[in-house]
């Protein structure tokens, strides 16, 4: 009786978890990630799109991710390819992230507004649920001209989401907050933290983006925690710059230790050793 009660309770909990998600986020959903290079790289192993898909899977949702990010593109290039990149690929959900290149390449706000509105309308007409992602920061310096200029572009997206009934995923706001927290935690760190180059994401940025998107999808805190457990196991590659002289010497050390160079270098790092 006690066991049956527990089973019933867990069933109830799991049902409530399923209902916590937006209805379109379900097994069989086809999620197109439309955007620029940030989204293009989002499909790398620890990129935000890959993490979103992994997070869905960790919560029992078997959806299909459709990569639709192309480097260097603004809304000007995305609009004409919406049909081929998203609609004709039978997407049921689209996350749309355009803005950093619009600001950077000087697409006027009026044109940006027109392009974004048209993309949302066309996608909705095709029955696609649209998630609007605000533009991430341009350089990790809130006061620079580009970030100031982006304020109006993002303000427009917030209005557009309301008008068109889209879910707003406010990456810009989250990124500002994360940056504040990290700068407070690491006052000595003067270099980029969330981005590699002021634009493209480090794992901090990708984790932030993936978490925001999942929250936008209606994920609860416990579902996101489930996703995080899987994310932490995800292995990517991090660059280490060596000279060829160092490379050759380290290679010989690896041979001597009967290891591949990658394993040898990995084992030299205390953090990795501590985890074993």
């Amino acid at each position: 009786m006690y066991v049956r009660g527990l089973l019933f309770l867990s069933l109830l909990l799991s049902l409530s978890a399923v209902h916590a998600q937006n209805p379109e986020i379900r097994s069989g959903a086809r999620i197109a990630f439309m955007g620029d290079s940030i989204t293009d790289m989002g499909f790398w192993k620890t990129g935000y799109c890959s993490l979103v898909m992994k997070g869905l899977e960790a919560n029992g949702i078997k959806a299909v991710g459709i990569p639709a990010g192309i480097s260097n593109q603004s809304s000007r290039q995305m609009l004409p390819r919406l049909e081929s990149s998203v609609i004709s690929r039978n997407a049921t959900v689209m996350t749309l992230n355009s803005g950093v290149n619009d600001v950077g390449q000087g697409v006027p706000l009026k044109e940006y507004e027109k392009n974004m509105t048209e993309m949302v309308e066309r996608a909705q007409k095709a029955g696609i649920k649209v998630y609007l992602l605000t533009a991430t920061l341009i350089q990790e310096d809130l006061s620079n001209r580009q970030n100031e200029k982006a304020v109006d572009y993002n303000a427009f997206l917030r209005r557009l989401a309301k008008e068109k009934g889209c879910v707003l995923v406010d990456l810009n706001m989250e990124m500002r907050e994360l940056l504040r927290i990290l700068r407070e935690k690491y006052p000595q760190m003067k270099k980029n933290i969330i981005t590699v180059d002021g634009l493209h994401m480090t794992p901090f940025g990708n984790l932030m983006m993936a978490e925001c998107v999942l929250r936008g999808f209606g994920f609860s805190a416990s579902q996101i925690e489930k996703a995080r457990v899987e994310w932490m196991k995800t292995v990517s590659v991090e660059p280490v710059n060596l000279t060829l002289a160092e490379y050759e010497e380290l290679s010989r050390d690896a041979y001597r230790n009967g290891q591949t160079l990658q394993d040898y270098l990995g084992n030299l790092m205390i953090e990795k050793e501590a985890r074993k």
Binding site: K191, P203, T234, G266, M269, I270
Partner: protein, 277 residues
């Protein structure tokens, strides 16, 4: 009489030994090939190492990087015309076939297209260096390497029939790998990547082989090696997100990026443990 013959032979070989390298300052050298050649133009790739090696010996040349990733034989002729012939080089090195092998292309088509580009280069008066293909994996007896050996036999024949120079790259690579195995019984491989491309070790052997063929002597190769020491190379280490966050926590407190911190950790750990000081 026999003394005179010996004297003559010695004189001829001495003059050859002391001869200038075949390669001359200002020459335009095109490097045509598939992925391995495309990657060869990276800082630690064989093209760049060869050119830097020549510079170190006072022989600046103009390189024409003409590698195209994943290029298969159907693309050889149009790509060769565009990437090589139009640039009018003095010499061309050709290393083609690994992408065909990887994609299981038609061997007859491969041979026909190789013959065609060699013929085009000859007509244009370009000196041709046909490079053998690099091994698929580091075991020379592995089945995966058998097609490479077969293709190399064809390339050697093509070179001899067309007055081109055949550059055996596989032999020196296998030799180095074998030396590593002997010297380091636990050796796990470091010349060919899991994607069947060349690591910096593999690129160094290829560049040394080319430089030798271009006429550099042991001193010249040593000068080249010396100049290569400072070339930067990015090794990519597998790191989980959990590990990344731990590393970042240490790095950021010292105003270091994760990459800088990893490099520092490697250096300091190595200084403690390495047998090379």
């Amino acid at each position: 009489m026999s003394k005179w013959i010996i004297f003559l032979l010695l004189a001829v070989s001495a003059s050859l030994w002391a001869g200038e390298p075949l390669v001359r300052s200002g020459m335009k050298i095109a490097f045509f090939g598939d992925t391995i050649t495309s990657l060869g133009n990276y800082p630690a790739g064989y093209i760049n190492l060869t050119v830097r090696g020549l510079e170190a010996n006072g022989i600046p040349v103009k390189k024409i990087p003409a590698g195209l990733g994943w290029m298969t034989s159907g693309q050889y002729v149009p790509e060769f015309k565009k990437r090589v012939l139009e640039k009018k080089p003095d010499w061309v090195t050709i290393q083609c076939g690994r992408s065909d092998l990887y994609k299981k292309g038609d061997p007859a088509g491969y041979r026909k297209n190789m013959e065609e580009i060699v013929s085009l280069a000859r007509k244009a008066g370009i000196r041709i260096w046909i490079l053998g293909l690099t091994p698929v994996c580091e075991n020379p007896d592995a089945d995966a390497n058998k097609p490479v050996n077969e293709m190399n036999r064809f390339l050697l024949k093509l070179a001899s029939e067309t007055g081109s120079v055949y550059v055996d790259v596989t032999g020196p690579l296998n030799q180095k790998i074998s030396e590593c195995r002997k010297e380091f019984p636990g050796y796990k491989g470091n010349f060919v990547t899991s994607w069947e491309n060349l690591t910096p070790e593999g690129n160094i052997v290829t560049a040394e082989t080319l430089l030798q063929e271009f006429g550099l002597d042991a001193g010249g190769i040593a000068r080249a090696r010396n100049t290569w020491k400072t070339i930067s190379y990015t090794e990519r280490l597998p790191v989980s997100l959990e590990e990344y966050l731990l590393l970042a926590d240490k790095a950021f407190t010292r105003n270091l990026t994760v990459a800088e911190y990893m490099k520092e950790r490697i250096q300091s750990a190595r200084n403690k443990d390495s047998t090379i000081k």
